[in-house]
Amino acid sequence: MNQAPIFRLLDVQKAYDIKARSSALFSRASKRLRALDGVRLSLEPGESLAIVGESGSGKTTLLRVLLGLTQPTDGRALFREKDIASLEGAERDRFCREVAMIYQDARGSLNPRMSVLELVAEPLDHHKLCAKSERRDRVAALLSRVGLAPEMMSRYVSALSGGQLRRVAIARALASEPSVLVADEAVSGLDVSTQAQILKLLRDLQREMGLSLLFITHDLGVAAYLCDRIAVMYLGRVVETGSTREVLKTPAHPYTRALLNASPRFFAPISDPLPGEVPSPIDLPPGCRFAGRCTRAQTDCHENEPTLAPAGPTRLFACLHPLSAA
């Protein structure tokens, strides 16, 4: 097993040029939307990392960069120390095999014209992982691994429930014998009871098969249950990262604190919500991006942009006036 990090992001930036709506006639000015702005992260073998943030924080763009679906405008995105964009031939095939994706919209990600057998066998066939004669047995084994009966093989997507669909999507992801699972909000929109089943399944799989897991979520409870490490994102930047337990117990960044307060908890009074919404990532003002919504913001927050600085062996945060407990 290669002990180098599986994924490494070095100050990754992704900016989009968008046409500005300007009052000046014939103006051709364009503005820059910074979806990712200097993201530095790594995923070690066997590790589970949660990426947490509100919509608009850049979680999905980060995912697209990691999967090589879009290229960073600046910085480097590495898979096993090689640029993801430059992977070719056998290396590219290996990348596709090792990195398996579970999409947010399981129903939309599975072809309705294919049976469960064909869906789960497709990666096996594509990567030529087993002989045609073993195909059925391999699919049955994968299905039982995710808690589905082999009779499901002949079913189509339209005949499956939400929970069953997620299980098929997970079985399909596992078919290529990956080393890392990347999941984008894989449990959102499910009933709590189904969500609990899928989360337990994912955690068992991760632990038993030694998989790395990159889990994108907006639910801190899910992150706490599933992942050893957490990275909290706000407007294209990582604002706090560290071990999930530490970060959630003693958050240093006021944004992490606000997310914690907003999460429903039994019998806790409804907290004073964070004012406003995530601002537009176009032409951000100078200073800390969160300053406009932060209760602790002082004048220097609007002038100087904090950088992600270490605050412990694994802990980093970007705040000029962090919460004292950290």
């Binding site: 509100e54 919509s55 429930s161 929970g163 929109g189 009933d191 709590v192 009871s193 189904t194 969500q195 609990a196 089943q197 989360l199 337990k200 907006h218 639910d219 801190l220 409870g221 899910v222 706490a224 249950y225 959630l248 117990k249 606000a258 997310l259 914690l260 307060n261 907003a262 999460s263 429903p264 908890r265 039994f266 019998f267 806790a268 009074p269 409804i270 907290s271 004073d272 919500p273 964070l274 919404e277």
Partner: protein, 343 residues
């Protein structure tokens, strides 16, 4: 027609103090809404089976359960969108001052729906019409229901949008729904639902499509605005932790049957029904180490199923559970339908 001076009412209730105060748990002689033995059939299926609950004046009630529990069906029945002959209805729905409305005709519903009973839907982007501006969608009910003139409706629309936290309200009137974020769209829905000063507001999963920080804002807003107007509110929710924060009373449903009902503090602090307990066990808190999920399964709606519909998935099921339906009885400050409740 009811006219409420919002300005005076705002001054009278000091917020957010009012949010922490729970309404007194005394049985009212004259509750706002009483649902008794409500059954709803669709062909051979019994979708709601003898649902009974009471909503006190000014209180918030949460309907809880998995999908398929009948939560939204109850909400749609309470606003007269599911009626005979499309579905078969039985039982009583007593809305204060309007009598039993279960068999009410469309004429009667037109006087209630959108006036005394209003609804916020789950998906605000689908509930707002993309072809009309925010202003036209909020002013139409004000003019038709409240009978305001165009100018008065416009002024009231601005006032309402400001009260739900939309800044720059006058210019928002000419915006189309797609120009607003999900949270802003839900605020507009709330403004529309509150525009007729309803007695009963139905909120069907109003925040399940929103971020947690926006969810906190929206739930708070609904609570503040309904309390300010002394309106009652029914939340349809699937998150038990959120229900414990925003509902005075809860009704836990499974397959259209009431499993457990009572004050949220009593029921959720120490559930007696195995289903409530199991749902509570699925809620992730930050220190959850182990989850013990319920086995998969969906309730059968076949009207001939005699017993408790949860029995096939229930860890405490007895032999008789599948055969005889347990009655809803009083026990330790709540109502519960179970042959083998938790001690």
């Amino acid at each position: 027609m009811k006219h409420v001076n919002i300005g005076a009412a705002q001054a009278a209730v000091k917020l957010p103090d009012a949010l922490g105060v729970r309404t007194e748990q005394v049985a009212e002689a004259n509750p706002l809404l009483q649902v008794e033995g409500l059954s709803l059939t669709r062909g051979e299926s019994l979708i709601l089976d003898n649902v009974t609950f009471t909503l006190r004046r000014g209180a918030t009630l949460g309907l809880l359960g998995e999908s398929g529990a009948g939560k939204s069906t109850i909400a749609l029945t309470l606003i007269g969108l599911l009626r005979e002959p499309e579905v078969g209805l039985d039982g009583r729905i007593e809305l204060d001052g309007a009598g039993n409305i279960i068999k009410a005709e469309e004429d009667a519903w037109l006087k209630l729906r959108g006036r005394r009973v209003t609804m916020i839907f789950q998906d605000a982007s689908a509930a707002l019409n993309p072809c009309f501006t925010i202003g036209s969608q909020i002013m139409t009910p004000l003019r038709r229901v409240m009978g305001l003139s165009r100018a008065a409706a416009r002024a009231r629309a601005i006032e309402l949008l400001e009260s739900v936290g939309l800044n720059d309200a006058p210019s928002r009137l000419s915006a189309y729904p797609h120009q607003l974020s999900g949270g802003m769209q839900q605020r507009v829905m709330i403004a529309i639902a509150l525009s007729s000063n309803p007695d009963l507001l139905l909120a069907d999963e109003p925040t399940s499509a929103l971020d947690v920080t926006i969810q906190a804002q929206i739930i708070r807003l609904i609570l503040e605005e309904t309390r300010r107007r002394s309106a009652s509110c029914i939340f349809v929710l699937h998150d038990l932790a959120l229900a414990s924060q925003c509902c005075d009373d809860i009704v836990v449903l499974y397959g259209g049957q009431v499993m457990e009902a009572g004050p949220s503090r009593v029921v959720l602090a120490a559930p007696m029904h195995p289903y409530t307990e199991a749902l509570k066990g699925c809620v992730l808190e930050f220190d959850t180490e182990e989850l013990e999920p319920l086995p998969s399964g969906a309730p059968s709606f076949a009207s001939k199923t005699p017993g408790c519909r949860f029995a096939p998935r229930c860890p405490r099921a007895l032999d008789k559970c599948a055969g005889i339906k347990p009655p809803l009885v009083e026990a330790r400050g709540r109502k519960i339908a179970c042959w083998n409740p938790l001690p």
